[in-house]
Amino acid sequence: MNYTFWRAIKFAWQDFWRNFWLSFVTITVIVLALLSVNILISLNAMSDGVVNSVKAKVDITVFFKENTSEAKINNFLQKIKAQKEVQEVVLVSKDEALEKFKIDYAGDKAIMEALEEVSDKGNPLLDSLIIKAKDTEDYQVVLNMLSLAENQEIIKSQNFTDHQKIISRVESLSDKVEKFGFGLTAVFAFIAVLIVYNAIRVTIYTHKEEIGVMKLVGAGNSFIRAPFLINTLFYSLFGLIFTAIVIYLLLRAVNPQLSGFLGVYDFSLLSFYADNLLWLFGVQFGGTLILTALSSAVAVGKYLKV
């Protein structure tokens, strides 16, 4: 049984090289299909990265009235924290706010002079609370709570940094690109399936003498079929390897430009691929293998009469 297994692989390997140009064309089409899949994955990952990054910047800042007691602020803080929609609450005292302001605008002479003037009468900044919700939809609940009369007693003002428009635009664009990408991938996948089917058919034809001899001397049916099915393993494996090489080269080439664009949103496509390499390519290999093996099995069933 071992000999049969290794011999089937040997015969498949011989077929693969003997029909070099056919194998080359087949692998090229598989690479194109996988590239379109990876472009789709990359676009998806980038839009998710941008959206998540933008979502992370959404928050509500509440400024308390001057001379609001610490006890009232703490009480308010506990009430907000207890809300299930709230993910995080950060209290920034006016002193901390002043220190941060000085650091942020240290290089701006005009602002620093203005601050010095105003600081003579005391810290002009207010105690504040930065509230982050678990999801962008939850902010409305928080805003409703803030607008309650009991809370408005201690709230001087609130600032809701709403990036919802940007988020919606990005998601809408991403949706359109995804649909187009799926269509393109489906077309390439279909072509790849047809190419593999034809490659196996041609290989069967070019080996009809050997197949005839194998049948004549009583070779097992599975041994006769196996090399054609094993060929799909080679097509899938080489297809994936060449795809990985092309993607790596492309990413290296465009990463500087992409970093400039996506760096603002804390997203790196190269890091995304590095972090998810195994499962990304594992799934693609599995999917390619299944499709090509099915195509091959149909061709073998139809044209290899054993």
């Binding site: 000999y3 001899v213 004549l216």
Partner: protein, 226 residues
């Protein structure tokens, strides 16, 4: 023992390639099957090797009814029957050694065993000194001997020769027939399908005559009569 019991082979819409064939071939016999073109000789060979299925009747090979043989059993049957053809069916890009070893590899034999068996078989057919030649470097008779060697790899009990000398000259024909006789003397049942009158008359063995798919005669020591 090979038994054909009321065997018929029908091709739609209205062609009987074989009709009501009843015959028995004992182990170790040498039988010539003769007949004009279209008489059913090759169909008989195809039925024996399960390349075709009988439309009616039974074929029994050593107690095994192969009339309704299952798909996965066909390779097992073919290992028990050696077949040689008029066109040799050798692989042109493989040497003599490789043509035989390929057949053994296809049947799952170990590498070391293959290297033991192939030289022995080639010696039997007188080609031990030409193992690295390619088919195009051999005469017709030598190519047919390679075909015979390949048919013997499983030490089959039955050897079917379908017009083995059709493409050969007189002297090569004689060599091949002598080889078949030698194989028969070693105990293998030989079924020779032929058009060649001289061979049949020279052999003085059992002769079965087919005519339009039916048995015209079956003579223990026959002559070519058509």
């Amino acid at each position: 023992m090979i038994k054909f019991q009321n065997v018929s082979k029908f091709y739609a819409p209205d062609t009987y390639a074989l009709k009501d064939i009843d015959l028995k071939i004992d182990p170790g016999e040498f039988v010539s099957i003769i007949g004009q073109s279209g008489s059913g000789k090759t169909t008989m060979v195809k039925l024996l090797t399960a390349e075709e299925k009988v439309s009616n009747g039974k074929i029994v090979l050593g107690g095994w009814d192969i009339s309704d043989i299952r798909h996965h059993e066909i390779p097992l049957l073919r290992r028990q029957i050696g077949v040689i053809f008029q066109d040799y069916k050798l692989l042109p890009k493989k040497t003599v050694f490789e043509n035989i070893s390929f057949a053994l590899e296809a049947c799952g034999l170990a590498h070391t065993k293959i290297h033991q068996i192939v030289p022995q078989i080639l010696k039997v057919v007188g080609l031990g000194h030409k193992t690295d030649r390619y088919p195009h470097q051999l005469s017709g008779g030598e190519q047919q001997r390679v075909g015979i060697a390949r048919s013997l790899i499983h030490r089959p009990k039955i050897l079917v020769a379908d017009e083995p000398t059709g493409n050969l000259d007189v002297s090569n024909t004689k060599e091949i027939i002598e080889l078949l006789q030698k194989i028969n003397e070693l105990g293998t049942t030989v079924i020779l399908v032929t058009h060649n009158k001289d061979i049949v008359n020279m052999l003085k063995k059992r002769v079965i005559v087919l005519d339009k798919g039916q048995m015209a005669s079956d003579v223990a020591v026959g002559r070519y009569v058509l």
